[in-house]
Symmetry: D2
Subunit: 337 residues, 4 copies
């Protein structure tokens, strides 16, 4: 940590900062510059030391040197984490595709959707049983019944089931049915929920919150990893910016950036990332080219009659075409899909 | 709702859209323009009709006319909601001030803080017992013990206690001790938590999420109101933007904007809204001038030794001076504080 | 345009709005809903009518139906505009690559850079002679001398020269040397400059401003097109968001979105879009997969000694590898590069 | 500057970085930590050294210590700069108010507006003669004729005239008529324009670009100051964020933040900052309470017939009421207005 002092500090002020640094178990090096004096504080800076030093009267600002996450870091574990569950593999040169409707609506719909996405090459089935919705007046999912239908679809197709859990009390129930537990973007910093899924021994797909920095995203993953669950999948699904022509802004540079920083697999959700079905094929291909380990895409047998998210949902035919293009791009990069 | 069709629609296409509109229980008016044809859909548009129409092949975009929230709306209830609990009053021409440390640290600290903020004119005491923290390695609060200490501080000072509840399982416990339940910014769309506090009959201070639009913010309030809890306090605490010189960007125009749209009281948190103690006095006064019904400010007997948020926390002396200035501004506007 | 009236308008209020609409040369249709009354205003809405109606006392908001740009619109011209100058072709199934250093530094540097990027497959040479820099104390380019060196590099290699013009007085001079005039992101709404390049009959590469909406971007193009210059190239180079791990956020969904709205070719600048050299190869490939018509990439014989932008500049070897990957992706999509 | 090396550097790598630092005229201090090695580079870091060091292979990131601007800095000049021209005074405990229409439309309009705003207490008159407009099809101002009308209004009322200059060629002309030259938000980084107004010896009101950081804003001011013009007025007019209920987001914390960093006066534009006339009175008062040195407000004799910006323009009556409130707030803070 670099502690920048306010201009023209006296010797006593410097001494007080040195004492605070040492009191935090860090070693202090004073460097006197022409315009500023800084104190370099060497040692483990992850225990709130930055906040404490920032609140000292003598201090102008504190610049951290280390990333605040540790288990998620590539420096802790250099080989990539590959998540495998049933037919779904994410990472290690393989791009796994999770597809299906926004919400499970009824047996016919989810079974048909599962068959359609499987036929096109998906190995994971998405479908919401518990649905977080912006308005209290919207459809909130079939709940337990939805989970049963997802399990039925898995039985019929063999696809791995990926579904969202919204609150700690439901973790046990959802974990009974799901192969991968999804944490939605709105819950990325719902810490009791992160702790709860951290205790499960099934993969967790963690969606980035729409205003989360990369550090906050990896620290949310760290909450789960710190409970002993090593199978965390990071999902970029778009951030909130001033752009309003798309539902969110999909910042694909996070894909290679995350791959440099963490060993965890990175999945992209171009459906929520754009909110517009006609943009999903191009952004799926772009995600693959950017180096993602997987895709999660909304597909419905009849999007124009979907109970939620129809405008961003692919038809089975459009999904099939998207898969074909993505596979070509993946192969061009020496990956399988 | 205004349904804009894609360019040059055929009569059949228009007819299909009209049928979809009517199938949703809305009345359709077709308006043929020189470059575009639109269908005006008249009736209650709050049941997901927009999403359904957006996913039709014939449709380019759908423009909603009505606000998606109803109970929170000024059109539903014209007189302002005033929240009163113990000595704390928010709204109706009175500005209530909630102050205290970020976290409850120990008995001496919280009792001293409570006396200090009371002496300066606060009528509410803030203090975190359950603390959401970005890093799993940070201090997460004293939990149950923290609640007991807050109750003790109330007993000694009479201040109303405002404290955060992080997860549905804790709602009953926190409601036992708190006068106002706080929903943190990270949990603004934690719907199970909103439903749970909606069932309590105590005021709820709902913080705006850092990337929430005003509509999303009022819809989150609507989740609570819809459960029958009428005492929702809205709290603007800063949004995430490209600005990095402050922790968040405090967009004070939300204060008069919200007052036009909703009858609920609006409180501002200049501590989180700036993240820098030296900016808090000016932004407190600005919030009052902008028309807020209350302030929530972090104050600690010794900020430079606070266990969290020290850099944005006022000393008791700075808080007293801030209160004096704010009272002058409030009086200039014909309000009490 | 849809004019939404304030709640519960009287017949007189509706009448006043109808008169204003008709006074603007538009036809008015009144639609009375259960909660709101709207007036649909049919006709050409591009002459400021929206602003006028928004300022009427009776009006709550005005929703435009038409895009505000016309010449740039796909509805005006359905076949794509292909820009060709010398060996550089952008569009029509071909991806053109413009590469070279941030700044022209001296003869040896620009000639070497030109040969290196040509060898790897670029057909355009970028290089700044006039350099806009955030600080007045930074290097501002070799100016006239830089233009001469670019012309010399073209003579030696045949590459098309792309270089920035910063102010109207320089347009004639720069147009003498350049094959494509670049308008930098900071000048996207420098209208006198847009008018000036609109009068030139050479292609203009218009960079998107970091906070420009798509509408503002296309309206800036419209300024140039409206002067009779039909060869406008749109360049996505990243927007300003809360993300700070990259220099800007590169929102690649603008590529397919723009291709739906406009016939103009779309180029991506992954160098400025990320600001980090190690992310440029992946984002170049992603741009191609997203459907761009060209790339503009910073390459320097020795980035670690570049006079500007070294951190985001590729080495010749990295550029060659990037080109190889991009070509594979382009071919997978049925395009040439 | 703190140069953070990549993990586990060898002695040779450290040595190479030290040499680069020393080659830039800076003194190097190596600090070896448990997880990272950093090199503190002491000396003047404002000459592009950061960019050079960032592009070294051995380097992970470079953290600047000093602000990149110097003449604008409070550290260079501690007493505040007060701008005075005619009756208009900005700073030194006095809040100056500049008011008037968005555009000069005709003689009757500007003379009436000038009298109305003077009657309410404004000492500066705003009015656009050269108007930057997002669409090429909008009204672009009366140009030279507009300047003459502004001069006439000054003659009649004595108000100081504030008007925008859009391009270097017009600087001489505009400076002939105006008392304060305004640089619009779109031109904040139009460096040739900044250089040109830097050579004039009249005050310049510099508007913050909608996506400019505080550093970029102060560096734009530095361009003008560096040419010898000491009278730069900073104007906060709102930034672009995800918020769409207002035209821009007005981040008032920049006011006290700027006052800590620079000696230049700070003015707020609540008209553009909100885009909604009904929010302007509250945000004017909030700006005063936040500590601004001046306000610039759009006022028109009849906003609903204004040729531009009507929706954000106050009526003379609303302006008068706003002035009365602001004066009370200013007095509460011990300031005059």
């Amino acid at each position: 940590m670099i502690v920048v002092l306010k201009p023209a500090p006296t010797a006593e002020m410097i001494q007080r900062v040195v004492q605070r640094v040492e009191g935090l178990g860090l070693k202090a090096h004073v460097i006197v510059g022409t315009e500023r004096t800084v104190v370099a504080a060497v040692g483990n800076e992850r225990n709130g030391a930055q906040q404490e030093l920032e609140s000292c009267d003598e201090v102008e600002k504190v610049l951290p040197i280390l990333a605040p996450y540790k288990i998620a870091s590539r420096e802790t574990r250099t080989e990539p984490t590959v998540v495998k569950t049933g037919p779904l593999t994410l990472g290690g040169g393989h791009i796994g595709v999770i597809a299906g409707p926004c919400s499970v609506e009824d047996e016919a719909q989810i079974l048909l959707a599962a068959e359609q996405v499987k036929a096109a090459g998906a190995t994971g089935l998405r479908g919401g049983a518990f649905k977080p919705r912006t308005s209290p007046y919207s459809f909130h999912g079939l709940k337990d019944k939805g989970l049963e239908l997802l399990a039925l679809a898995r039985e019929k197709t063999g696809l791995a089931v990926v579904t969202e859990v919204m609150t700690p009390q439901h973790v046990e129930l959802v974990a009974e049915y799901a192969d991968v537990l999804q944490i939605g973007a709105r819950n990325m910093q719902n810490y009791h929920l992160l702790w709860a899924v951290g205790e499960v021994r099934k993969p967790v797909l963690l969606k980035r919150g729409p205003s989360a920095t990369i550090e906050e995203f990896l620290l949310a993953a760290e909450y789960i990893l710190d409970q002993g669950n090593t199978q965390v999948i990071l999902c970029e699904r778009g951030i909130r910016t001033f752009e309003s022509h798309t539902r969110f802004t999909l910042p694909l540079a996070t894909v290679p950036y995350l791959k440099e920083r963490t060993h965890l697999p990175v999945v992209v959700d171009p459906s929520h990332g754009t909110g517009i079905a006609s943009l999903v094929p191009a952004m799926s291909a772009a995600s693959v080219a950017a180096g993602c380990d997987g895709l999660i895409i909304e597909v419905h047998p009849d999007p124009s009659h979907a109970m939620s998210d129809g405008a961003q949902t692919l038809t089975p035919a459009a999904f099939e075409a998207t898969m074909a293009t993505c596979r070509l791009v993946a192969n061009a990069l020496g990956k399988t899909m």
